[in-house]
Amino acid sequence: MSEQTTKPNQHARPAEQSADDLLKESLKRCSPETIKAALAFRQSGDVSLVPTVVLGIIERFLEPEVVDTLKDGDDSVKFMEDLGMDSLTMFEAIMMVEESLGVSIKNEELWDLRTVGDLKAFIAAKLSGVEVDAKAKSYPIEQIAAVMPQQEPFLFLQAAEIDGPKAKGTYKISGKEAFLAGHFKNNPVFPASIMLEALGQLGVFHFLSTDEAALESVGDSIFFTGADGVRCSRVCKPGDTLELSVELKRRRDPMVVYSGKITVGGEKAATAEEITLIVAPAEETPAKA
């Protein structure tokens, strides 16, 4: 394996090649600053170099037309939505980050890294040895549908994020919901009762996702049992995205109580002082009609 230059069709990695050379080879399509920062990081372990390395690696995988989105954007730039990266591109970039910075990222950690800021903070925390903040955990629709007793066409939650006692979620009113044809005639308005239902569903999702025992024991025996102090203040129509949020107020088995709020584009649409769910243990579940 000594004639590495004459073996262009093999990934020859001879032992005599230095670690720096290997890194330069891996980063060969990154900007010179990125390579320099990665090499310097190897020497110093200086965490302030991390953003340069991480952003340089991300940039190297982007199609030319979105490079400016990354360069001009801040930490809120989303990998998939804003930069058009798919999960395979994320794997490619992460593999290079791992190699450059000597960290390793687990698959389940990868799912939570949605923005440039997420990734930078995550790597910096890893490197400094600090436990990663218990940050909000995001769930895509597939994961939501897998745990929820409610399903299409009666699932009013498309994405959710759980952060301790709080949960946020979204539901975009498509206009194709069957009930809109009759609510109202020639004037589709998302019913207030369904808005309340959506908040209840977010509460159910929070409950099932934060109480590991709950998922096993309650299955589909969790019911909406009460709502207090409900106010609706905005008409919601097809095209609107409901921004749902609930917060756990108290839990006294078998009751769980949340407060809830809905906004559309930041504008208040509905509030509920209390939404009460009742959790029936599996063996006491009444026979379903």
Binding site: K7, Q10, H11, R13, F61, L88, T89, M95
Partner: protein, 422 residues
């Protein structure tokens, strides 16, 4: 409902004898071969192979796909290229040409009635590259697209995703008969009304790893003169010349042809297949499987042997393979007093393995449309074994009306396709 009629409405070709349909036709008319000197890219591999049917204008020789280049105006996005084998760019370009020549718009391509059958041997080069890396650096340092880019179904995975195919899809793997099977089953799907339109896409790498193992089988010619190296039916033939490339055909039902108002290249009348049950690599000396495949093809097309006026032979220029095909042709045609013209266009293109049948079905479709019969090049002395077979040595300015295209693969798999002038 009876069987739907099936037509070839689009063709795309990237081959040693041309990267577009017109250049391929010109090469066939003037008997211009596509061979160039071959030396292994890895110079430390001892090799006596001196020629290959090279694909011009593309450079896919680097282990790093981001170095690959395509001829203008073609471009492939990075996130598409990364999951392609080295023959992927050939097939992508062929696909683009086929779509254009068939006049298909995106809604014609992405719907439940349009499918794709593919054939490719995968990429032994990429498998080697990835497994070498696996052994050296472990799985977490291997490209995440390594498997989908290299295993035998790679063309299906890539093309279905890239072209948003929603109908039937499947990869065929019967070595040198692969794309013949893909054509045959695509025909069936349309004839039976299961699909309205099918793409048949085939491709092969051309590199050390794809080519040299055939030299170990003693199947390649070691001649340096193209005329001596690839000379099917010649007395001194001694092996084939390897080639790579891509070919894509669009098959459509009569209904679709009429609805879209397009002029097809040819009609597919039917097909047949049968196996030798004889040897893992060599064809049966009497070509028993191919005899049956041709007879079944004729029955499927409701034709009598006398109605066939051209056979594009599989003949690769190996001693045994050409001989058994010659005997099979004599059995089905000569013995009944019929002498359809016979030629092997592999004398010019080289043998493209999984690509061969789709490339030759394209060539036959072009000969039906453009009214010529390609000659069998490089014959200085016809092997007396082929006396009674009407091998034509020059391209004729007269096209066939009904033609067969034969293919035979390892294990004695034989396919014969029937095409008719429109």
């Amino acid at each position: 409902m009876g069987l739907q009629r099936v037509f070839v409405t689009g063709i795309g070709i990237v081959s040693s004898i041309g990267n577009d349909v017109q250049t391929v036709v010109d090469s066939l008319r003037s008997l211009k071969h596509g061979f160039e000197a071959f030396t292994p890219q890895n110079a430390s591999i001892p090799s006596q192979v001196k020629l290959a049917g090279t694909v011009k204008g593309f450079d896919v020789s680097s282990p790093d796909f981001e170095d690959w280049t395509l001829p203008a105006p073609y471009r492939i996005r990075r996130d598409v290229m990364r999951s392609l084998p080295p023959h992927g760019p050939y097939v992508h370009v062929s696909m683009a040409q086929a779509i254009e020549s068939a006049g298909l718009e995106e809604p014609d391509i992405s719907n439940l009635d349009t499918g794709i059958y593919t054939s490719s041997g995968g990429s032994t080069r990429l498998i080697h590259q990835n497994t070498t890396r696996l052994h050296q650096l472990g799985p977490m340092r291997c490209p995440p697209t390594g498997i989908v880019a290299s295993i035998a179904g790679t063309l299906s995975f890539n093309l279905v995703a890239q072209f948003k195919i929603r109908g039937n899809s499947c990869g065929f793997s019967s070595a040198c008969a692969s794309s013949g099977h893909a054509m045959g089953f695509a025909y069936d799907d349309i004839a039976l009304g299961r699909q309205k339109r099918m793409f048949v896409a085939a491709g092969e790498d051309l590199n050390d790893e794809s080519l040299l193992p055939f030299s170990g089988m003693r199947a390649l010619s070691l001649e340096s003169d193209p005329a001596l190296a690839s000379c099917p039916f010649d007395r001194r033939r001694n092996g084939f010349v390897s080639t790579g490339g891509g070919a894509v055909l669009v098959l459509e039902s009569e209904e679709e042809v009429l609805r879209r108002g397009v002029t097809p290249y040819a009609e597919v009348l039917g097909w047949g297949q049968a196996s030798d049950g004889h040897n893992v690599a060599m064809s049966h000396p009497e070509g028993v499987g191919l005899v049956e495949a041709m007879q079944r093809a004729l029955r499927s097309a409701s034709l009598d042997a006398s109605q066939v006026d051209y056979i594009n032979a599989h003949a690769t220029s190996t001693l045994v393979g050409d001989l058994s095909e010659g005997r099979a042709i004599k059995e089905v045609f000569g013995k009944q007093g019929h002498g359809p013209r016979v030629s092997s266009t592999k004398a010019l293109t080289g043998h493209g393995l999984s690509l061969a049948s789709a490339l030759e079905a394209s060539i036959v479709s072009l000969s039906l449309k453009e009214r010529f019969t390609p000659g069998s090049a490089h014959i200085r002395e016809l092997d007396p074994e082929f006396e009674g077979v009407n091998v034509i040595r020059e391209t004729l300015d007269e096209g066939p009306r009904i033609a067969l295209s034969n293919s035979s693969g390892f294990g004695g798999a034989n396919v014969s396709l029937v095409l008719k002038k429109v």
